[in-house]
């Protein structure tokens, strides 16, 4: 069997084990916590598609995420669309947003892409604040169904939905790493000019990466209105999502999808534990501080540390 098969079987087994385990636990809060951590796994993995493989820093995670959340709100209000369809629509909307941002700035140096994504978040937030149909600055409420299809309660459904999304995100990232796309992105990260000279279609590959990464972030945001039953611009565009996606990826390591997953599980669990005991501001301080520590002292993240140790072991 190939490594791909192993990965896919492993993901399915892990998913089933997580669902069964949480069912046995039978605690509503466990579904919530699992949902949040998986949401961060998805955000970090999709952030890494651009940062880790192509070397481009996206400061607009919150923008793509919120675009997904507001797609759900608007389509639900306008057409009464089911959440599952909204998730797909959110993927399309945020994917197009990613494509647009890439098209605007990716011909320039990487730092301009970062600055543009930073602006995107503020421009979108201002639009939503000034748009009464989308709830304006006071926000909108979403009615949560009691149950959904075969799932015992709606929280369980949301958890399973996010589980499927997060693991699909991992599968996509793992596919990119093996594909010609991933190979091309790596050449861009190492030396964009040399890559272009060698005939790598740099712009097209970068656009593919921004689109995929944006779409996954939008899908991560789509269930948010149902999860929280209430959505306002401040919560949807929170800088928390941006800093967390960055910090988790950089702490875990950017070389493969394993890094963001490790970072998201570690930091996500830590924060879920910490919010109970300390304020959310102190929480953010920890995330920012840990990120600074890692980028200065361990720029290759936990994955880099593990690999360095292994290499040392081989030599001894």
């Amino acid at each position: 069997m190939s490594r791909v098969m192993y990965l896919h079987i492993g993901l399915v087994v892990a998913a089933v084990a997580m669902i069964l385990g949480l069912r046995l636990l039978g605690n509503e809060y466990a579904w919530y916590m699992g949902y949040i951590i998986l949401q961060y796994v998805l955000l970090a993995v999709s952030w890494n598609i651009l940062a880790g493989y192509a070397g481009y820093v996206n400061f607009g995670t919150a923008a793509f995420f919120a675009a997904g959340a507001y797609t759900t709100i608007l389509l639900g209000k306008w057409l009464g669309l089911d959440l599952l369809l909204c998730v797909l629509a959110a993927g399309v909307v945020s994917g197009l947003l990613g494509l647009g941002m890439g098209w605007l700035t990716l011909r320039l140096r990487g730092v301009y892409f970062s600055i543009a994504t930073l602006s995107l978040a503020v421009v979108l937030q201002t639009l939503v604040v000034n748009w009464p149909y989308a709830g304006g600055s006071s926000g909108v409420y979403t009615l949560r169904p009691q149950d959904y299809l075969v799932f015992g309660n709606f929280s369980e459904f949301l958890f399973v939905l996010m589980l499927v999304l997060a693991f699909s995100g991992i599968a996509v990232a793992a596919w990119i790493e093996r594909s010609r796309l991933g190979l091309g992105l790596t050449t861009i990260r190492d030396d964009e000019r040399a890559a272009a000279a060698a005939g790598v279609p740099t712009l097209r590959l970068k656009l593919a990466a921004t689109t995929i990464s944006g779409a996954l972030m939008g899908m991560a945001g789509a269930p948010l209105p149902y999860y929280a039953s209430y959505l306002n611009p401040e919560a949807a565009f929170s800088l928390n999502y941006t800093i967390n996606a960055m910090a988790m990826t950089l702490i875990g390591g950017t070389q493969s999808w394993v890094g963001p997953v490790i970072g998201a599980v570690l930091l996500g669990t830590l924060q879920q534990g910490a919010t109970v005991t300390i304020s959310s501001a102190a929480n953010l301080l920890i995330v920012g501080g840990v990120m600074i520590l890692f980028v200065t002292l361990a720029p290759k993240g936990i994955l880099g540390l593990i690999r360095a140790r292994r290499r040392k072991g081989d030599r001894a």
Binding site: L104, L118, V122, A247, A281, G288, V295, T296
Partner: protein
């Protein structure tokens, strides 16, 4: 309705505001534009200076603009130290594109959260003797709380320009922006020059912080909107063009103030970032910059 007096007043206060934006942007024009150090945390440092100045003024009764001048040298030293850290951990390793950017982003978050944890999320301001007065030129009013910081900003910028043109170190800073390696032929260490210049950019953030807190109350998140403004101004001007930065800031202040007067203040954040997006899409080299992409 929109009569000509209203427009004239909006333009005038836009120009005064533009002077504030100019001093806020000038530090970033030096660090980002000339040194190629993308200091995303620059506005957060300005807000940090505003908070410290509020504390100094409350304790001593000093004028905030004077306090800013006193705070500039320690901020300059802080900046020099920060550049050393940045150089050792990121620039020397060639990791400024991702890890370096993340470092400044993290620094920005840490400064903001630290301000909230120490002083709370409330707005802070400083009472000045001239706060409520204004200078009336016919129908146009110049509030002193905006006029004095504007004059201070222009004075600081003038000193910066003269220093960059006349002094040896200043000219070396201009040279490092053009060709780092050529500097080595002149037996000047480019890293030392960059350290001095980056320190200077943070000292300018302290001056800007003083001007800011006289003009408006400041809270821990004020840096966000200023991040958009200063990036818009620096890119509008074309990276590294300091006189361009001054002109771009004035134009920007007027555009923003007119937008707020005509469409309402809720739209003013979109001006900065919207303009930035448009500039990046159509003329990334700025109005005054040459072609360097």
């Amino acid at each position: 309705m929109l009569d000509s007096f209203l427009i004239a007043n909006a333009v005038t206060s836009g120009l005064l505001l533009g002077c504030l934006y100019a001093i806020a942007s000038m530090g970033l024009a030096v660090s980002f534009g000339m040194l190629d150090v993308v200091n995303i945390a620059h506005p957060a440092m300005m807000v940090l200076a505003s908070f410290l100045i509020a504390v100094i003024c409350a304790a001593s009764g000093l004028d905030p603009l004077l306090a800013a001048v006193l705070l500039a040298p320690p901020f300059g030293l802080l900046g020099a130290g920060l550049y050393r850290v940045y150089y050792i951990f990121f620039e020397r390793r060639g990791q400024e594109a991702m890890q370096g950017l993340a470092f400044f982003f993290g620094l920005m978050i840490v400064i903001e959260v630290a301000l909230i944890l120490v002083w709370g999320g409330d707005q802070r301001w400083v009472e000045t003797a001239y706060g409520g007065h204004s200078l009336n030129l016919g129908p146009i009013g110049l509030p002193l709380r905006m006029l004095f910081p504007a004059l201070m900003a222009l004075a600081a910028i003038a000193v910066l320009f003269v220093w960059l043109r006349r002094s040896f170190t200043g000219r070396a800073v201009a040279a490092v922006a053009q060709d780092r390696e050529a500097l080595r032929f002149m037996a000047i260490n480019p890293i030392r020059i960059k350290t001095i210049a980056f320190g200077l950019s943070i000292a300018l953030a302290a001056i800007a912080g003083g001007c800011l807190i006289v003009v408006q109350p400041v809270d821990a998140h004020s840096g966000h909107i200023y991040l958009g403004r200063v990036l818009a101004v620096v890119i509008l001007a074309g990276l590294g063009s300091l006189p361009g930065t001054l002109i771009a800031a004035l134009i920007f202040g007027v555009i923003e103030n007119l937008t707020a007067t005509i469409f309402g203040p809720a739209w003013s954040p979109a001006v900065a970032f919207g303009l930035l997006l448009v500039m990046l899409a159509f003329r990334p080299q700025g109005m005054f910059g040459g072609a360097h992409g």
